[in-house]
């Protein structure tokens, strides 16, 4: 084990962890916002996330098929794909809420949970069916855009690619917009009011159903954006790809304090960094006894320790007033 090697790769590992963390943060927002207003875990969110990735890849493949991918300026393509992914996932989330959750709003807590798991399975296989009929494919590959793979070497061991920068910039921009939306606008006030007390909010003239739909729309759109960024960054998706990132993002939401928006961002970043550090360093530090396959165990152990000392997550509950 040599120290220069360990220290030399650290900045790169932190950078990669940060990118992964931003993606978890974007997905975690969907879980945490829905939990904030409904106190219910939307387990179909991982599929809402991957639908964004599929819409993105379909558009990019469509552009490529039309020969437009290289002719259009690449930032335009990315913005277009991101917006399409956000719109598709947001609308899907609203539809899912309307069809599968709203009729069960007053049923015992476990029933919408099971409905969510059912929707999750349904969406996975619906995507699979669609893609096998449409493209006869299971794995879909994001078309390579060479400009996105250009790397800037900061030092000999650290570099950052254009697509990583895109992920960071896009994630920061969206988190910023969301922050302003929730804290500085009337709509945001309404969302927070519904989260605090639905009955009181409706007495104040807030249309609770509409606000709940809006919450799903925003959460779904964040998930869709994360899906597109995931596809651009890692390249390969299949109908079942969403499950693991979804689970991790849910964990990130709990880690940050579920129901809490800044908490979801923080939780995502912490989990991403922990995972990257564990995957890169475990085998180096233990001489191969524990390898990269233990990264999740390590990350989740840390999660358990944090929750022992802070059962409500890192940032507790700010949005929800109720205990």
């Amino acid at each position: 084990m040599d120290l220069p090697l360990l220290l030399g790769i650290l900045p790169q590992v932190l950078l990669d962890g940060l990118i992964l963390g931003f993606m978890y943060a974007l997905i975690a927002l969907g879980y945490t916002m829905v939990y904030g207003v409904l106190e219910f875990i939307n387990f179909a969110h991982s599929e809402i996330f991957i639908v964004g990735a599929f819409v993105g890849v379909e558009i990019m493949l469509g552009l490529k098929g039309a020969g437009m991918l290289d002719r259009l300026p690449w930032p335009l393509v990315l913005v277009l794909v991101l917006l399409a992914g956000m719109a598709a996932s947001g609308l899907l989330a609203v539809t899912v809420e309307r069809v599968a959750y709203r009729p069960l709003r007053h049923a015992p807590r476990l029933i919408p949970l099971i409905s969510a798991i059912g929707i999750s399975f349904f969406l996975q296989d619906a995507i699979r069916l669609f893609e096998s009929l449409w493209r006869n494919a299971f794995n879909l590959v994001y078309p390579t855009m060479d400009v996105l793979n250009v790397r800037f070497e900061l030092t000999q061991t650290i570099d950052v690619s254009v697509k990583s920068l895109v992920v960071i910039v896009a994630a920061l921009a969206m988190l910023g917009v969301l922050h302003v939306l929730v804290n500085r606008t009337k709509i945001g006030t309404a969302i927070r009011a519904v989260a605090e007390d639905q009955a009181a909010a409706s007495l104040m003239g807030i249309n609770v159903n509409r606000i709940i739909s809006l919450t799903f729309l925003i959460g779904g759109a964040m998930g869709g954006a994360a899906g597109v960024l995931f596809g651009v960054q890692y390249g390969l998706i299949n109908p079942y790809t969403g499950f693991i990132p979804g689970l991790k993002a849910f964990t990130a939401a709990v880690l940050g304090g579920i129901g809490n928006i800044p908490g979801a961002m923080l939780g995502g970043l912490v989990l991403g960094l922990l995972e990257a550090l564990a995957a890169s360093y475990l085998s180096l530090l233990t001489g191969g006894a524990f390898g990269a396959e233990y990264k999740d165990i390590f990350a989740f152990s840390v999660l358990i320790v944090i929750l022992i000392f802070r059962p409500k997550g890192l940032l507790g509950e700010v949005i929800r007033g109720r205990a």
Binding site: Q12, N139, G235, T241, P245, S280
Partner: protein, 392 residues
């Protein structure tokens, strides 16, 4: 008895009315089991068609003896439970004297437990897992190679590339980890420096694994696993600036590797226990017949299935020398005695049912176009005997 009459009539027609001595000695059936539906159907269909071609071509001598020869394909769906339940039907049909199959070792191993109950000869065209023959069943044979040799072929080739340092990744499955361990152990023996040995179930984000690899800059990276995981790994590694040579086992042998990783895997090496049929010198006729009859190119393992079925027919012929329908035991014993020159080379089995000399290939990815996967170049071809002292 009505059946003999039918056979006489059939044979009379087949033989063009010649006076054939067909007293209706019964039917001999050769079965195949391979996935004919689902994601691996292309390979499974190739096995079925390869065997069918051999049965049609070599059934003459048995028919002259007065037997009716039939070919019965079964679909194991690449699922162990389906394979086993098919096997129960197969052993119940007394006319089936040999089985050609399977595609997947995970299906072949439990199914062969059923064949063993009645000593039904199984000749596998494709199962490379060492366990298939290491159980030393007298009825289980294979015409393809073994993973413990495949890993060694890989490390030998890595050495011949002048690689001094290697990094080994695997997918934690019995197949991927198994072949990666054989690669690693032999690489160490040959004096290569194994910088790391890492398992991962990750399917999308390989960044944290790639960073330490890049810092250590190995000459070669070996990925023991299947293309759907190997392709994104190699793609991300190249895109992150890793300059090492890439290598993998036959799990990488799919056009999807090029589809997913594109130009990033051009020049990558992979080993295989089933070379492209077009590369086998004796298989020219087979490829032509196959194309003519089925209208497509034979998939990997179709030539092996053809040879496996040929072995089965020769063994049945030998066991039926007296003119009587042979028992299953007789056929299983006869298979081990077969010596023939097949389209994949000389075939002869050792005491465990491994081929005395099996063929192994090292291929190199030629193009990022998935359509041109079949044009990948063979850079090395070896005939190697199975290891004498293997595990279990």
């Amino acid at each position: 008895m009505r059946i003999p009459l039918v056979i006489i009539l059939t044979l009379a027609i087949v033989a063009g009315g010649a006076a054939v001595d067909a007293q209706g000695k019964g039917t001999i059936k050769i079965a195949t089991q391979s996935p004919l539906s689902g994601g691996q159907a292309a390979l499974g269909e190739g096995i079925k068609l390869g065997a069918q071609l051999a049965v049609e071509k070599f059934k003459g001598p048995l028919e002259k003896m007065g037997f009716k020869v039939e070919f019965v394909p079964y679909d194991d769906q690449a699922k162990p439970d389906v394979g086993v339940s098919n096997s129960k039907n197969i052993i119940a049909d007394k006319d089936i004297l040999a089985i050609i199959g399977h595609l997947n070792s995970g299906v072949a191993i439990p199914s062969s437990e059923v064949y063993k109950e009645v000593s039904l000869a199984m000749i596998s065209p494709a199962n490379t897992n060492p366990t298939v023959t290491d159980r030393k069943y007298t009825n289980v044979n294979r015409v393809c190679g073994r993973d413990d040799v495949q890993g060694v072929v890989g490390s030998e080739f890595a050495k011949s590339l002048n690689a001094k340092t290697v990094y080994v990744i695997h997918d934690k499955t019995p197949y991927g980890q198994g072949v990666a361990e054989f690669f690693r152990d032999d690489a160490k023996k040959k004096g290569l420096n194994v910088l790391g040995f890492e398992g991962t179930e990750e399917k999308s984000n390989f960044d944290p694994i790639i960073t330490p690899i890049r810092a250590r800059n190995p000459d070669l990276i070996y990925f023991g696993g299947i293309y759907d995981q190997g392709a994104p790994f190699f793609k991300q590694a190249r895109e992150k600036g890793v300059k090492s040579k890439f290598m993998g086992p036959d799990g990488m042998d799919s056009s999807d590797l090029a589809k997913i990783a594109g130009k990033n895997v051009v020049g990558m090496y992979y080993t295989s226990a089933a070379g492209p049929a077009s590369a086998l010198p004796k298989a020219k006729q087979f490829v032509e017949d196959f194309k003519k009859k089925f209208g497509k190119n034979p998939e990997p393992y179709a030539a092996e299935a053809y040879d496996a079925a040929t072995v089965a027919l020769k063994a049945i012929e030998a066991a039926a020398k007296g003119g009587k329908a042979p028992s299953r035991e007789d056929v299983a014993v006869a298979v081990r005695k077969v010596k023939l020159s097949g389209i994949t080379g000389d075939i002869e089995f050792d005491a465990k049912g491994d081929r005395k000399k099996a063929l192994y290939f090292v291929l190199q990815v030629d193009s990022d176009d998935p359509q041109k996967w079949g044009d990948n170049k063979i850079v090395k071809q070896l005939a190697i005997a199975p290891p004498s002292a293997s595990k279990n």
